[in-house]
Symmetry: D2
Subunit: 377 residues, 4 copies
């Protein structure tokens, strides 16, 4: 059995993190089954993971609506069962006490900011007597960053009073400085800037990312191998994603969606062995609320070139799909940290659209690799 | 490089076998690419398979429409490119010369019938100087058979002038007696009756079956593992299959469809680890001709029980999906025979809805097992 | 403005009637908008209909779970907003007081039974000082009835102590005897047996039916005219309906589904002018609860016979679709009664799969006829 | 019976016009049924339309590939039956003789160009002794035009050696100058610029447009009224159109797609009575060839606000859908001209995404108006 693990959410009052916290508390209280939790599968029973019921939650956010209020909104939207917010009101209020102010726009001194974020993590770890605190970034998607200098140059820029890092990379910097493993659950730059990757290596901290695989891409990486294994030639793979909620609004902005679409498209070419034509849209449809619908159209050639099609429609609740995965990742990466791993953990690629440390995108191969790795832990 | 292999189709003038013959001849003549041919993937390059261009075709059928005429009908139906029938007229006429009369309804003496079928195979093998002739059953689906006696009882019944075997098992009997490996590409009883399984073992002949996996079940075995790996609980998996052509008419008959639906349903329960509710229909829609459309609706529960759905529509050409697989199977099973294997070859389960000799239904795991086996060959 | 109208539900504690009652009370209390209510469209403003907020509810049912409890179950199933049951608890309890015991299985004397049902209606009308009480049958679907005698023969059979009527026709008999107009919202025999039709005529009572059009058939009658108007030849129209809830269980029973499938298929042939091939399935999928999903596949030939397809998936909440229509029908048929109409009201065919008194199935034509009729009222 | 009518296609060698010509010739020769031809429905039997078999074809195009070659390409793409090109080779070669060079890029003198186009029309009419020549624009979509001057200003600009008109409006100018009615089957500016509309009125010529309704919009105008009539509130209507062929390439260009998306969106708001959210994409997917697939997702609120969805997938052959309509339009507008109508004919709105002279977008209402108008003709 692993040691107790702290989970520190960036975007702690957002839908994904709130759902994860409510869910973990509900499962601990015996009010729900751990459905959707990969790490609860029998394959992971011997991996020494921190029990789901013993996770301790904290986090950063830029808004301050109480978690119980967030839970009520999630219940009204059909993301969580309606009886949970009142049943868990006490526990949610307690979790509120461990949430801290995130990055304020216009905070002028990035060096000071980073010190504050790092201190928040260290205090949380000390306050709860935790060995391991895993930082999980579930905040809104940011546009790509052009900052590609090395760590020394980053430090020099910070010393010079500059603010070269986007917010996601600030949180990654603070995590690594505090010796905390990091899960990059969004496509934001986060730990993937060269200076941050270097910092993780220098500090011997493991991290995993990026961009949680919960919908269309999940299906692509489950279905793509079928076409490859059957020697069916995919001529085009077109897709549209309709999203409501905050995610829809963020991704409706062309600048942000760039990084997302890029990470969505990458895997299919690897799986099929050739580039694949076809549009890929992400659209904000506010009335869908917390729900998302993806439609994909695959046009392929079989024997003697005969043309055929596969279509699918995936209608899911974004936060309900993502929340169990961030709990899984916190427990798995926490364990990786405890056994001394550092750098990007490619074996966690199963969870991501754009797996750091791995070129494998086929879902079943990723699962096999994850199970083998968990056996080794 | 393997030795030349003969391919003997039961139902040789049917859509699947005709498409396979036209396709193999077209590929040999440089008129088509081998798309859809699994055995042409790089993974199988070193397996010593007979080259696609060197297969020799013969077969049984109960009708006698010339192959070139069948090819013209397939072209009109959009199954094969319109220019192939005339381009391959000579080769198709030559193949006609190797086709023999199948089982005539009302032929009274089953023992004599079996002798005739066996002799047809032996003569074909001798005529072309082949080491290996693989019999591939692509004829219409038959209802289940209740004949469960052992081989000795079967021989005694045949000696007594009885006719205990359904046609598919007659062809299997003849194949095994002639020392020919057998591919059961339909859900008919064929080699799966106890007496036939015993005969294959006694004669040291390998066989593979049953019921080619080309549509809805292919998708189920590609997608089912995704739900299991992500700990998403499938509540129901409902499906409808619309088929035209001869297959539609045969499967529209409730007696025949029984064995098909059974073999379609079996795998999902194995993959998910629990029985799954939901109707499964196979309907004859004559105007669809050679095409088939399957729609599946998967209702599943994620985190905290939240309900979500996946739907897919698969619109394919049945014969174009099946034809390359029977060529693959003939080459792979021919090689298995050459290296001395006997009995059901579970590693060929990748191709079947109801794999004999294997309990594995997950498509990627089946592919990995097939590749490993081919490497060992 | 029309006079106050009573609405007497057969199956008053079922999902459709409960949703209708909750909804009408919520709209009256200003807790909801009248979305889905056709009679609230501007086209019906001058038709003299009883205001939605002034309907008085009563009914028969064979179970006695309180309406507030039914409302809570509907809220948990996502059919109605979660806050309504407690907000309307008082009103729902009041409505409970107007519900009476329905037809008990094994009640031996059908004559006595009919007297009791009739008396229930008359007492309700008197108790609330209503001019008009519309009976709306929303109970479970029954199998077809073979009773085709005339009214005199029916009365003789009842006098002889026989029990020739199915329950739905008992309720229709009681309605007509009490001078109450009747809405047959199910495909059960109800008022469509010859003796009942005769009774309605004799008593000068209007009625409407049958089988509310809320899903697949609604779409068929909206889309079918498009194919006809564009001279596109429909080759086959295949469909599958997945239903949970009580409706799914009832219709999963082959005997009951007969009448439903018949009434679903009838309209399309009328619209297209020729019979249409294609399977039509209704399946019970219990985990869908109050929700239903229909998938239809239309295969059609265009210019020069080119084959094309239309598919649709309708995912709806059965009771939420049906409930506003029964309120509409009660108000419209109540008004028809007030202006002295009798017999089947074909102009209400807009609401039904199998319109009594009309051969028109095209949705837009039905709407135009309804609006014209309402203008005349 | 109406007089013989000439049909002059702009874009005469494009897929739509070629399919229309092949089809009309095939129907005349008894090689095909007139499926998809609205004007062949019994409702139009007494309207005095020119018989389908007596249409005479000519046209402009900028390329010069022979029609029989175009027909072979259409057959290879599955748009027309494979036997037609050779069966109709003589007739197609004859039609080639009536095709003329379209607008050459860089032709400097627009006044001269317009004279040449007009003369082509007048010579065609004279050569075949036709009373009526209907010009049908089926050429590629152009971007919107900013030219909004009146006719006098246009003439002055032309006299001044300027070239203010986009190609589609040049063809419209030539048609009106020659006294020919015009069908604007594309969303290009064509006759809709103020100066052109004025010219048609001055010359007393009828015209119809614009943008043929053959796919997603056809479905929208068939389904939209259903939501309105049932008082179901559409929250969002999202759609994606995948197109191959030349149309896909043209519309993949953002400048051209603007006018198309605008005309697609306009109708729904009219039908529903309020603006509707939701993305609308048109994408070029070259491997689809002549085929197009549209997927729409409708999210709507029913009783008490309960959320439900309708999805549809329309998989059609663009030219096969459009070709019969251009024949219908030529015959109907030809008749309108013969009876002396002028200006935009709103009653032909049934055929268009963006009907000129009408605000009605509901398909059934448009059909009723068309039938009434044809009865009056």
């Amino acid at each position: 059995m692993g040691d107790a693990v702290g989970v520190w959410f960036v975007g702690a009052r957002g839908s994904v993190a709130s759902t994860a916290v409510v869910g973990a508390l509900a499962i601990r209280a015996g009010l729900a089954e751990p459905s959707g939790c990969v790490a609860e599968l029998p394959e992971f029973a011997g991996a020494g993971l921190a029990p789901l019921g013993e996770l301790v939650f904290g986090g950063h956010d830029v808004v301050d609506v109480p978690l119980v209020k967030r839970a009520e909104l999630l219940a009204a939207a059909g993301v969580i069962p309606p009886h949970l917010p009142s049943a868990l009101a006490t526990e949610l209020a307690a979790a509120d006490a461990d949430l801290r102010q995130g990055i304020r726009a216009g905070e002028p001194d990035q060096r000071a900011q980073l010190r504050r974020l790092t201190a928040d993590l260290e205090e949380f770890r000390a306050r709860h007597g935790l060995d391991t605190v895993v930082v999980v970034d579930t905040s809104s998607t940011e546009p790509p960053s052009a900052f590609d200098a090395d760590l020394a140059a980053l430090e020099a820029a910070l010393d010079a009073g500059e603010a070269p890092l986007p917010p996601s990379s600030c949180y990654a910097y603070a995590a690594f400085r505090a010796g905390c493993p990091l899960v990059a659950f969004t496509p934001s730059p986060g730990p993937r800037l060269p200076a941050l990757t270097e910092l993780a290596a220098e500090r011997g901290v493991p991290w995993a990312g990026s961009d949680g695989k919960t919908g269309e891409t999940l299906l692509k990486t489950a279905l793509g191998p079928m076409f490859a294994q059957r020697a069916l030639r995919v001529l085009s793979w077109s897709g549209i994603n309709l999203l409501g909620g905050g995610d829809g609004a963020t991704l409706g902005d062309a600048a942000n969606v760039g990084s997302k679409i890029e990470s969505k498209a990458r895997g299919l070419e690897r799986i099929l062995g050739h580039p694949v034509a076809g549009p890929l849209h992400i659209d904000n449809v506010p009335d869908l609320g917390e729900w998302k619908t993806a439609w994909d159209h695959v046009h392929f050639a079989g024997f003697l070139g005969t043309r055929m099609t596969l279509q699918f429609t995936w209608a899911g609740c974004d936060s309900a799909l993502a929340a169990p995965l961030v709990l899984d990742l916190a427990r798995l990466l926490g364990r990786a940290s405890q056994v001394g791993l550092s750098g990007p953990v490619g074996e966690l690629g199963f969870f991501f659209k754009d797996p750091a440390g791995s070129d494998e995108h086929r879902l079943s191969a990723q699962f096999d690799a994850l199970v083998a790795w968990a056996g080794w832990l």
